[in-house]
């Protein structure tokens, strides 16, 4: 193999590694346990898991000063995410594939509002709410069609 081909292969390798590193983490809500571990790595947090009757809660204590809880059904799907702390987590990260839908809905809701207050986004297949105030912010997001039977939305907190 000549040096030119080797260099091309090497460059492709670097690009592929960079691409994988940067984007593999962007999947959470609607993802699987792989995405929970990705979130833990991206948020640089410690992970603690508690089991409920029909789901597990993976709590990530992030170094950014927030707590993120991910709700995973026994079939392995992340159906809800909740957080609280001094800021919001990277919503691109925790909302995953639902992020763009969330952004569009926030813009639409702003046009309806007559002042500042918590957000409550109710889209087909996606609920997101952010609230609290400076230093003590909160939020939840869930996929209503993926919530296991018998689990109430208020349980995601």
């Amino acid at each position: 193999m000549n040096m030119v081909k080797l260099r091309i292969l090497f460059a492709i390798g670097i690009f592929a590694a960079a691409f994988a590193f940067c984007f593999s983490a962007y999947a959470s809500l609607g993802g699987d346990m792989t995405s929970v571990r990705d979130d833990q790595a991206k948020l640089q947090g410690t992970l603690q898991t508690t089991s409920k009757a029909s789901y597990d809660v993976h709590e990530i204590q992030a170094t950014s000063g927030i707590v993120v809880r991910e709700y995973v059904s026994h079939s392995g799907a992340v159906f809800g995410v909740a957080w609280h702390g001094r800021t919001h987590p990277d919503l691109r990260q925790v909302l995953g594939a639902s992020y763009d839908q969330y952004v569009k809905a926030v813009q639409a809701q702003r046009a309806q509002r007559h002042g500042r207050g918590p957000l409550l986004i109710q889209e087909p297949g996606l609920i997101v709410q952010t609230g609290g105030h400076m230093g003590a912010l909160t939020g939840t997001a869930y996929l209503p069609q993926s919530v296991p039977a018998g689990v109430r939305p208020e349980d995601i907190q």
Partner: protein
Amino acid sequence: MRAYPSGIFLALGIFACFVLFGCGSSSTASSSAGQGTTSTPVSNVQPISVNAGPASSYIDGAFTSVTVCVPGSTTNCQTIGGILVDTGSSGLRILSSALTVSLPQQTDSSGNPIVECTAFEDGVTWGPVQAADVKMAGEQARSLPIQVIGSPNFSNVPNACTGQGQPEDDLSSLGANGLLGVGQAIQDCGTFCTTNAANQATYFSCPSSGCIGAIESLAEQVQNPVASFATDNNGVIVELPAVTGAEATVSGSLIFGIGTQSNNGLGGVTVFGTDPYGNLNTTYNSASYQSFLDSGSNGIYFLSTAATGLPVCTNITFLYCPASTQTINALNFAQAGTNGATAPVTFMVGNGGSLTNSPVDTAINNLAGPQPNNFDFGLPFFFGRNVFVAIDGKSTPGGPGPYTAY
């Protein structure tokens, strides 16, 4: 061909990711902030008004005006109206588009500008930290770090900021020319931002090559102007008259100081100890929730349809829409480990859809909406009350802050 260990690809990938996407780094910062030293009895009464605000569309917002000067100057000054009084945050933030004086930029030790991403319940504000002498009534905070929101000099908002929420960097998205944060906390971030450069996603050092997380000392952080006043610096009182149903506009006062002059005594109010951010607790239907008194929220936002039985409005998911006005009874009590105070609280929930449909009234006493697991007592709660906010660590006749009282 020679085999490259997979670790090399991972390391190069991480490196390339940092180069491509600016994953973050550390730096140190320094700048200046001063303390005032003056005077005896000064005017401590700042007029406030509930009106439609500078965007002409606000309901249940209390606005005031603030004078900012280039530090040390008495002539290079500007008085800016349409500033929202916000007991739920700390620090003065002014839209760049409303600011005509040129204020000095805070920089880090390398001379790079410091820019802040501030997270709120409904979005983020992004803009540089600059210094101003801030004047209200007869009070002054000298060389106070403030945030200038939406500066065209820093128009590229990093992903680390937009990931926390959608920017509120212009008049239509902010709803005000600025926010006057007079909550319990002195700084808007606190000790977390003094030690944690890469992960805090609040303060950034922004050389032309891009923004990276920055350590920010307490003195450098954007902070509650009242705490920096020479006098009357232990808190504020928000005083608004009672509103019957809805009124076109009402006027009131923001009083500086608690028990420091003849006009700001505690009288017969109940003091509720809070955490450093102003949180207390509220019990409703035998369950307890975090709560806070936030003049910067334009309604009483609490719990959910499931918890209250109140339906949300069709197509307006952020407001409750009961068929007829409902009365809510709850119990406020002090944060655990503080003074143990309790007192009942009663408020009304009207039909948010009809109340905000073609609004002509800007002061509405029964606007409310959902906020799961929280009680956010927004501006309607303040009508007909004097609400005290005692700053964290400051002494008052009701004991040291932080507390809220009404």
